[in-house]
Symmetry: C2
Subunit: 246 residues, 2 copies
Amino acid sequence: MALNDIMKPALVASHFRAACSNCSLRELCLPIDLSDDEVHRLEMLSYHKSSFSTGDYLYRPGDPFRSLYAIRSGSFKTRILHEDGREQVTGFLMSGEIIGLDAISTDAHACEAVAMETSEVCELPFAKLEALSREIPSLQRHLHKIMSREIVRDQGIMLLLGSMRAEERLAAFLLNLSQRNASHGISPTQITLRMSRVEIGSYLGLKLETVSRAFSHFHEDGLIRVKARAIEILALPRLREMMGKS
Amino acid sequence: MALNDIMKPALVASHFRAACSNCSLRELCLPIDLSDDEVHRLEMLSYHKSSFSTGDYLYRPGDPFRSLYAIRSGSFKTRILHEDGREQVTGFLMSGEIIGLDAISTDAHACEAVAMETSEVCELPFAKLEALSREIPSLQRHLHKIMSREIVRDQGIMLLLGSMRAEERLAAFLLNLSQRNASHGISPTQITLRMSRVEIGSYLGLKLETVSRAFSHFHEDGLIRVKARAIEILALPRLREMMGKS
DNA sequence: GAATTGGCTTGATATATGTCAAAATAGCCC
DNA sequence: GGGCTATTTTGACATATATCAAGCCAATTC
């Protein structure tokens, strides 16, 4: 494995690219080093792709679980629905991220996933993914890391919801989008929101009016420019400070 | 596998018991059906046990990740600490539950785990657990379910923190403890809290005074009896209703 | 181009929860 | 058992966010 690393880095890299341009499994395959054969099998796994328009469901609560999905382009929101009508947006997922992990526990989807724009996903049949990860330890470890990362992410949101004030929450939210933009090679200061104020509010445990007022306040303070769903961050460092004190 | 199920249930059950009384991996091994050999290898995996007194750390943020832990007796709280001094209790874990999943993502613990009473854990070296789950598909699937269940649990808390009021949160909390008591064969109406009002507050995103007032209010309504940390649920069905409307 | 629609902003007010402070209670050590 | 400390309860008051209600803006339709 290490040998592979040293002896043919270019070749391995080119295989990553091949696999990733083909199946778009940036998230799944990029950080692992695989042999030619392994890359090929990973490609085979995920040849089924599908497209979604704004508002389309990727899955709904109760749908039987068969696959995870790697978002190839576009974005989705996930939302849980409680019997009493309460609901909570639990995540906004974008290109390169894996969606559907919650369903493994019960073999049925616990939440719903809705496309927020025209989007494409690669389907990853979970049984096959498990079978392959039994044979490729680095893939196995990677899958575990993806799941663990989701746990850490959720716990971060628990911290946000449990102990931050409205403006701190919104600052954290914007900074998170900024960072994810950056990791996609997109401008970290030009943010195009794909979701409404209501959805942001649901995610952050706030009402839409509070979200709107927080945006306005940031604007007054010269932290951001707001033009409907186009947000420009004018002072990233000061926005970071917002989270601490405010 | 199904054959195994049908033909020698008693035998299989006895192996569960053997493995579980020995390594206390109720959570890990109980629901899976394994061959004699597989049970034996699972036992071998987890022979290292350790004990903790109230306040002892199982791990701290930044500690290198090597193992998961199955709680054999007692209970722990997990807590994340933010740079700015903010902190959030992310879970109260009891006997039979697996702790440490957050650390897989970065190979270092993201949160801290503190014993809330005298407790014992089985250490599960993760590399070995992965190796074994490569060979035993039902163990692999089970490990994935445990991780997914943690994701679902965290998202439930996000719903609680994002959209429930103080008394609804506390009702949900008590009902959760009640249910976990029941699943351990303990009375679902006699609850002994192992944590302070401050810790409950941190977990539920409330201040201790609010938690205390909610307890008092439940008491006035005849829902519970409160004697410091001994809670008796007098009206489980009405407590369930509390969550919906209130 | 007018009209309709849905989303967003802003203001006035209500309310749930936080904050500060004191008293009561429980647990603990000598 | 008595005194000590930490925890919990309770009260009075402050405040952040929700709620209710208009008005505004941008996009879409006719």
